[in-house]
């Protein structure tokens, strides 16, 4: 039962109060997208063994979305942050890099 701290309301909530909705920072492909871009947007997802950036929603709480950086193998949570960013905050990326020097870095 993971627990994550919602950056919107500050509550550390159980996994059962939250809903995970997969990879974060997927840019929407608009009407101009070619077929490959559309396929990438709709279907193609990272599936890393290690550091991953995910979208979560505090469903049975404040109802707000946020993002979390998490290790998919150890379940270590590096941090949670606002969903209203196009890339993870620099400070968080630095923190992860420090803990995991071998990490290749954030890939959009």
């Amino acid at each position: 039962m993971l627990h994550l701290t919602c950056p919107n309301c500050g509550i550390t909530a159980d996994e059962t109060d939250l809903h995970c909705d997969g990879q974060a920072h997927i840019a929407r492909s608009g009407i101009d997208a070619n077929d490959d871009e559309l396929e990438n947007y709709l279907f193609m997802r990272h599936n890393p063994k290690g550091v991953h950036f995910e979208r979560w929603r505090h469903v049975y709480g404040c109802g707000k979305w946020f993002n979390a950086a998490r290790c998919t193998t150890t379940l270590e949570v590096f941090g949670t942050y606002s969903a209203q960013t196009t890339t993870p905050p620099k400070s968080l990326l630095n923190k992860i890099k420090k803990k995991r020097p071998e990490w290749e870095g954030f890939i959009k």
Partner: protein
């Protein structure tokens, strides 16, 4: 024979006799007994039949690791199968039955399986599945199903109550033995909040049984002092009868508390599931003794040495007058010494080790006990109970040297630390060859959210088998976790345990080491699943190298005890067969719960009405009282129809349709989703959410709209009303309100977060009542209060005012094709408004109508229904709804996806109407249309399917809608719908609007 001794038994109260029954026999025990100790005291050594071979089985252990003594407890709605006699506290009137025996435990016909055991080898099920196929279904399965198995499932609904309990602590300590108590004292004294769980009703674990001294006190006194001190600390909670069941991610754990199991009839829940979040978890769960693998080791009377000692000390119960002890370690000698001390006989101690010089063996020798070194049991004698053993050299192949009479065999293959809770969440183990055990690797703990280990292990569970080493380890682990959760341990004198020195154990995995194949087939590893040494060796010969595969092939460790006794022995045999090292073979995965917990405790309060609470509209109770025939619609209950007198459901639906079409009907539409979208960018936002253009909707007007996913598929529909310049009210389907609200929020929060838009789901704030039919206006005019004329309130408009004195917002929208007003009133006024309509509508022939009438009327008009005409793969174009796809808008959700080639493929199945050639025949729901050709795979080629199909009383004929390949180009053609019965229904492709295509009925 086993019996109650005249003295002793530290846990029983001889002044409180208790009566209970086993297989109908009335037996006596004492308060403080377990069912197992009481059965042994009554010489009931045979307690069950084995799972596969129906071999007679007796009690082996004294705790939750017991594999054999599973009984059915209680009667009727209190019956529960597969309960362990060793963990069941005895109470007056306890009713128990043996399992898996027919016609009786003593004479069991299924024992024929035992004779057949040669045809049930390892992997029997898999081998039988393969060939011949028919044999499995028709011959083997019926026989096996009858013969193999454990207890029967209860037939009545569980009468007991269960509940959840939540706890948040700094430190959770699991296991209330001396290690757990010592650690708890350290954590408690530091000031951290600590919860201590103990599965038994007593504290202190097995220390009193071993007779150790702690700080020069007898251990019981030390335990009492520890409990007193812990109870005085406000930051410490002690819970006995509560098993630490599972450890999960990020410091979450479950505890399984037994509240009234031992006090039936007492008020309150039977069990409680603790849901615990702890910063650190310290497990001090002790160890489990391993059986030795010798032929006949499953006969009733062959028991674990430590358990025999438990029964003597804790319950004053002897397991037999004459004992033979087989061992590979010093600890087991304590059992022989105890047996001797209480005046019973020890015929021999067979120690597989060649050199035995420890303090305990020497003490046994001094007491005159015969100690044989380098010796083993060749075979246990007896049929339903032990009558003796033949002994042999451990180094040999099992040639019997001598027969020794005895009625109990105590065995000890050493102890395995209980590492389950450490391992549940990923803690890794190391093989300690010197001590012959897997122990936790402190370098590889389960990790918490901060990346550091959140589980620690202390004492015997951590691999310290000498009592004082265990104590010192527990104390240091307690101090460590206190520090880890931010508290400072208090300096105090560490407790010291005085105990005999023990010389090293020797790894003995089969007895004798060169045992013949014949003996292997009588040597059991897993008692509960009847897995023998020969089965594991066969698996190895057949190529099973992975312990996980061998486990599944042989079913070793897959019974309800999860291999607590058998796993280490089994994998040692596997390693030996594969000529591999034990750590290279590895262990199987430990999964929660540690010990089976009841389904009731997992469900807690979530049963019956509380399993999934239903949503009720403001009119719900009236509907229930007035013949409403409910059907589930999302979490709501809506009336399918209102049944009058002796009407059938079908009659009711037809009456409601005809009445609504000719007079006036009343529909509770309160369940419709209602979402307010407000803000200066609300129009721009809805232009993205809907396929239609919404931003140009005039205030006071309504517009029907469609929503698609980004994949282009239809997701929801409904009418949007513009309340003012910046405010829209979006109606969704009844099932879609929460989903669509969440959908809107997702886009606003994660994609267009700079847009100035708020949303609010106001579904339950309004009752929405549809007044439908030719007399609808007359009724509203009679109620009075606002102008509802065609001129003041035309079709697809709404207005606000009062009707009959109630604040109302009537929408001129129609899902039936009739003159129709959907009137939103405050939810609290919903019932009053409904009553008023029913009362005032009498003269106009008003009748309430249900969802089926709604469905048929909308189908007569050719209106689509989300979930009928759509199934997640249908796009608006399939439903000929291009008119709802705005061409003016640059973009909307799903627009780009619609441009993909297969979305514009002309051969997509498209919506049409269907008229059966025989007007009285209704096409079955979900029927497929075929063109008479057969596909390569042998199935009929399908060219379409029915999406809605009804008998229309208005048109007095069957009508349907469906998606058909090239459908709109095939008007007038007749196509085939084969039925499940093998008939073919013929239907003509037609326009989907069956009634009033010009809209003359609604535009009045």
């Amino acid at each position: 024979m086993s019996t109650r001794l005249s003295k002793g038994g530290r846990l029983i109260n001889r002044s409180k006799p208790v009566e209970f029954s086993f297989d109908g026999k009335r037996l006596n025990g004492y308060e403080g007994d377990t069912l197992a100790s009481a059965l042994l005291a009554n010489n009931q050594t045979l307690v069950g039949r084995s799972f596969k071979y129906h071999r007679p089985r007796g009690i082996v252990a004294s705790g939750p690791e017991e594999p054999n003594a599973l009984v059915g407890l209680g009667k009727g709605d209190k019956f529960e199968p597969n309960q362990r006699a060793t963990t069941t506290e005895l109470f007056d009137g306890l009713h128990s039955n043996s399992q898996n025996a027919w016609p009786s435990l003593e004479f069991d016909i299924g024992g024929v399986n035992r004779i057949m055991s040669r045809v049930f080898p390892a992997g029997f099920y898999y081998k039988t599945f393969i060939f011949p196929r028919f044999a499995w279904k028709h011959i083997f399965e019926p026989i096996i199903r009858k013969a193999a198995g454990l207890g029967a499932a209860p037939t009545e609904k569980d009468a007991d109550k269960y509940e959840y309990f939540y706890a948040h602590v700094d430190v959770l300590i699991i296991g209330g033995g001396t290690s757990g108590l010592a650690a708890a004292l350290e954590v408690g004294r530091s000031g951290a909040k600590v919860l201590v769980l103990e599965q038994k009703n007593t504290w202190g674990g097995r220390a009193p049984v071993d007779g150790v001294f702690i700080d020069n006190q007898i251990s019981e006194e030390w335990i009492d002092d520890a409990i007193t001190e812990l109870q005085s600390m406000p930051n410490v909670t002690l819970k006995n009868r509560t098993m630490g069941a599972g450890v999960y991610d990020h410091g979450w754990a479950t505890g399984y508390e037994s509240i009234t199991d031992h006090m039936p009839g007492k008020k309150g829940p039977r069990q409680r599931l603790w849901r615990i979040r702890a910063k650190r978890i310290l497990t001090t769960t002790g160890a489990i003794e391993r059986p030795l693998s010798f032929a006949g080791n499953d006969l009733p009377g062959v028991m674990l040495a430590g358990s025999v000692r438990d029964y003597l000390v804790d319950f004053g119960t002897s397991c037999g007058d004459i004992m033979v002890l087989a061992t590979n370690n010093d600890d087991a000698y304590r059992t022989a010494i105890k047996q001797s001390e209480v005046g019973l006989k020890v015929a021999a101690i067979l120690d597989a080790r060649t050199s035995v010089t420890g303090e305990l063996p020497n003490k046994a020798r001094e007491m005159g006990i015969r100690v044989e070194t380098g010796m083993a049991i060749s075979k246990v004698k007896g049929s339903k109970s032990v009558s003796g053993v033949s002994i042999c050299l451990q180094a040999g192949e099992g040639v019997p040297l001598e027969e020794i009479k005895c009625d109990v065999v105590a065995m000890s293959g050493g102890w395995s630390p209980i590492v389950h809770l450490w391992s549940h969440c990923g803690g890794k183990l190391n093989w300690d060859a010197e001590n012959a055990m897997f122990r936790p690797d402190p370098e590889r703990p389960p990790l918490g959210d901060d990346g550091s280990g959140f589980v620690a292990v202390g004492g015997t569970a951590n691999g310290y088998m000498i009592a004082n080493e265990a104590m010192q380890d527990a104390i240091s682990q307690g101090k460590l976790v206190a520090k880890q959760v931010g508290y400072k341990p208090v300096n105090s004198k560490s407790s010291i345990v005085n105990v005999e020195n023990e010389s090293p154990i020797e790894q003995i995995w089969q007895m004798p080491q060169g045992m013949s194949v014949k003996l292997q087939a009588k040597t059991f590893l897993d008692y509960q699943n009847d897995v023998k040494v020969s089965d594991v060796r066969l698996a190895a010969r057949e190529g099973y190298e992975s312990v996980e595969h061998t486990k599944r092939y042989t079913t070793l460790g897959m019974a309800t005890d999860q291999g607590k006794l058998s796993n280490i022995n089994g994998l040692a045999i596997l390693a030996d067969s594969l000529k591999a090292e034990i750590p290279n073979v590895g262990t199987t995965t430990f999964r929660p719960p540690y010990h089976p917990i009841s389904m009731g405790s997992i469900a807690g309060d979530a049963r019956g009405e509380l399993f999934k609470p239903i949503r009720k509209s403001p009119i719900h109770n009236w509907i229930e009282e007035n013949g409403g025939f409910f059907e589930p619609v999302a979490d709501w209950r809506r009336p399918y129809c209102y049944q009058k007198n002796n009407e059938t459901v079908k009659d009711s639906v037809q009456r409601e349709i005809l009445n609504t079409r000719s007079n006036v009907g009343l529909l509770d539409a309160s369940t419709l989703g209602k979402i307010i979208v407000k803000g200066s960018d609300a129009g721009k936002f809805l232009d993205m959410i809907y396929t239609n253009l919404m931003s140009n909707l005039k205030v006071g007007h309504c517009r029907y709209g469609l929503m698609c996913t980004e994949n282009g598929f239809l997701s929801d529909d409904g009418v949007v009303a513009r309340l003012d310049e910046n405010t829209f009210l979006c109606h969704t389907t009844s099932g879609g309100s929460d989903r669509i609200h969440a959908w809107m929020e997702e886009w606003l929060q994660t994609e267009w977060w700079d847009w100035k838009v708020y949303t609010a789901n106001v579904t339950e704030q309004y009752a929405q009542i549809a007044v439908v039919g030719p007399n609808a206006r007359k009724l509203l005019e009679k109620l009075g209060g606002m102008d509802v004329s065609k001129e003041a309130l035309p079709f697809m408009r709404f207005s606000e005012g009062t009707i009959g004195g109630i604040r109302a917002r009537p929408f001129r929208i129609s899902f039936s094709g009739e003159l129709s007003y959907e009137i939103a009133v405050p939810a609290s006024d919903g019932q009053a408004f409904w009553d008023m309509c029913i009362e005032a509508g009498k003269e106009f022939g008003i009748q309430p109508y249900g969802t089926e009438c709604l469905h048929v009327m909308r189908a007569e008009k050719g209106f689509i229904m989300i979930g009928d005409e759509t199934d997640g793969t249908v796009i608006p174009q399939d439903l000929n709804m291009e008119w709802a796809l705005s061409k003016k808008k640059e973009d909307f959700l799903g627009k780009r996806a619609h441009l993909r080639s297969h979305m514009s493929d002309p051969s997509r199945w498209k919506l049409v109407g269907l008229k059966t050639v025989d007007p009285n025949v209704v096409i079955p729901d979900g029927a497929y249309a075929t063109d008479g050709t057969i596909r390569e795979n042998g199935v009929k080629n399908m060219i379409g399917r029915v999406t809605s199909t009804y008998f229309s009383p208005t048109l007095n004929r069957s009508i349907a809608m469906g998606l058909v390949k090239f459908g709109p180009n095939r008007m007038g053609e007749i196509i085939d719908f084969p039925t499940l019965e093998g008939k073919i229904i013929k239907a003509e492709i037609c326009n989907q609007v069956f009634l009033d295509p010009e809209g003359e009925r609604q535009n009045v």
